[in-house]
């Protein structure tokens, strides 16, 4: 990777017929950064994220993730990233330990690695007693924290989090962000979307997408200065209200 950039995107574009879902976006994400990727429903976040995860081929432009080209090396990208969303995270009918074994196995980790990592995570989350319980029996907050640990189980360079804290109580939401900070401290780059504007304040830098384009990209404090706003909520509303096209 050049100059510690974990993601580079240049004029990245995705069209569906006449519709330009992602319209020439350019940005870099640095190693260990917590990068907030904001936008209204339908602004093009999901499409952009799918391209960066190697799941959807861009129409034009350039992008690399963990040093790999999104056009030619998408299988390598998939091995270097972690992914978690609010909707899909863990297998409910497997136990906590089985989920970890399964994910470790998919990423070709050794039995020794899996065993040590599992013990480590269960200790960290104070879930040692729950290791053999089915995931579906756990409260939502625990599941989300566990899902995050599983998403970075294979020690990826970067983890994509798609609305990871939706519907979670305010205390667990903060515990979740503590885990994000710890991961970033260990050098894992975090790429996160959220509808909670207070969480935008916790990011190193934030981009705001409107109608397929990146309208703003800066640190939260600089964005507030630029838009003379008291909070990120205000910044977001000001930009997102400019949107012309209908959601999704």
């Amino acid at each position: 990777m050049s100059n510690g950039k974990v993601i580079t995107a240049e004029q990245l574009t995705k069209r569906f017929g006449d519709f330009v879902a992602v319209d020439h976006i350019s940005f870099d994400v640095m190693k260990g950064e917590i990068f907030g990727f904001l936008g209204a429903n339908g602004a093009g976040k999901t499409t952009a994220m799918r391209m960066l995860c190697g799941l959807s081929l861009p129409t034009s432009g350039k992008a690399t993730v963990a040093g790999f080209d999104v056009f030619k090396e998408n299988e390598k990208i998939k091995k270097s990233i972690g992914y978690m969303s609010q909707k899909f995270s863990l297998y409910e009918d497997l136990t906590v330990k089985e989920n970890m074994e399964f994910y470790g196995g998919i990423y070709h980790k050794s039995d020794k690695f899996i065993k040590e990592k599992t013990t480590f995570i269960l200790n960290e989350l104070h879930l040692t007693k729950e290791g053999n319980k089915l995931v579906k029996s756990l409260p939502l907050g625990w599941k989300q924290k566990l899902a995050f640990s599983v998403a970075i189980f294979h020690e990826p360079e970067i983890v994509f989090l798609d609305e990871p804290t939706g519907g979670v109580d305010p205390v667990t939401r903060r515990e979740f962000w503590n885990m994000i900070y710890q991961a970033a401290d260990r050098g894992i780059t975090v790429f996160v979307t959220t509808h909670y504007m207070d969480e935008a304040e916790y990011c190193s830098r934030v981009s705001i997408m409107v109608d397929g384009r990146i309208e703003a990209l800066d640190t939260p404090s600089q964005l507030k200065k630029t838009y003379e706003a008291a909070s990120m909520d205000e910044v977001f509303l000001r930009l997102a209200r400019k949107a012309v096209r209908a959601a999704d």
């Binding site: 429903n41 979670v168 909670y196 304040e201 909070s231």
Partner: protein, 312 residues
């Protein structure tokens, strides 16, 4: 006192409702819940996923039976008078529940017809909401965007002119702009005299309700007006920030004058055990001036109250 008379005027009355799941009844969804909603009131159930909000909505809309307790909607008993209730309530479930293969117009027509009415008859009620999606009335509901689906679902829940409207997490997964628009629509409906019970995991929406119940793990933590809930927060609350936020939080956590410290947007909120702690906090911040530490007193937010109530 004349309790029966009181019940007649209330929009919703919930008395000691208990609901458990599982063969051994070992999963408690609602643990002895009681509250009432006045006619024409906009009442919010605020709590995270798994708090029991949906179970409660399903009981009140007669789709689920409670283990014990009583509830009435518009004066009708949810068990005995379920047919009467079904005629007079509107229900927007958390999950999109319209027919994806029918068009926008067909969906609305369908809901009007099963309630023996027509779009024309009650058009004035849904007009403000429906006009926003009317340009797409020939489009299949399954092809609508999230925000438009939400507007159609609300129109369908309203087309028979219900007296009580139940909205289960109508804004979940919806962006900040659409959320604000949705609450504007609710204000409009409230002015038409409809009783509205709405649930949400977003604490910032609580402010827009007349009264709210904070709910967690099947229990009500507090019921009051949003202002009342905030007024009940009696401990000193401060906002702090510095160049080293994580470090600041860890250090404050160790202090014995601090009851709780947690991130809150750009700042950390620090809850003091008592007034004398504020002086110690001020000294602490002065000692950290090289890290640009700043301190300001803040008014508690609903979220501060929720965190505090969860702890105790």
């Amino acid at each position: 006192m004349d309790k029966t008379k009181e019940k007649v005027v209330a929009g919703v009355v919930v008395e000691n409702i208990i609901k458990t799941y599982g063969k051994k009844k070992d999963m408690t969804a609602l643990n002895d819940i009681s509250f009432d909603v006045q006619k024409g009131e906009l009442f919010g159930l605020i709590g995270p996923d798994g708090a029991g909000k949906t179970s409660l909505f399903r009981i009140l809309t007669t789709l689920l039976l409670a283990d014990s307790g009583k509830a009435t909607v518009d004066g009708f008993d949810v068990v005995k008078d379920y047919k009467a209730i079904r005629k007079r309530v509107g229900y927007m479930p958390g999950r999109f529940s319209l027919y994806p293969d029918l068009s926008v117009e067909e969906n609305l027509n369908f809901f009007a017809t099963i309630f023996n009415t027509s779009i024309e008859e009650n058009y004035d009620l849904v007009k403000d909401i429906y006009v926003q999606i009317e340009p797409f009335k020939k489009r299949k509901a399954g092809k609508l965007s999230g925000g438009m689906k939400q507007k159609l679902a609300l129109s369908c829940a309203l087309i028979h002119r219900p007296s009580v409207l139940f909205l289960d997490e109508p804004t979940t997964g919806v962006d900040a702009v659409s959320r604000k628009e949705f609450w504007e629509m609710l204000k409009g409906l409230k002015q038409q005299g409809i009783t509205i019970l709405v649930s949400t995991p977003y604490m910032d929406e609580a402010r827009l309700c007349d009264r709210i119940a904070l709910i967690q793990n099947g229990k009500i933590l507090s019921i009051n007006s949003p202002q009342g809930i905030v007024n009940d927060f009696s401990k000193p609350l401060w906002a702090v920030k510095s160049d080293r936020m994580l470090h600041l939080q860890n250090e404050l956590q160790e202090k014995d004058f601090v009851e709780n410290v947690y991130p809150f947007g750009e700042f950390h909120h620090v809850v003091m055990k008592n007034e004398s702690g504020s002086e110690q906090l001020r000294n602490f911040i002065t000692a950290h001036s090289s890290e640009n530490a700043v301190l300001q007193q803040v008014k508690p937010d609903i979220e501060d109250c929720f965190i505090d109530l969860m702890k105790n």
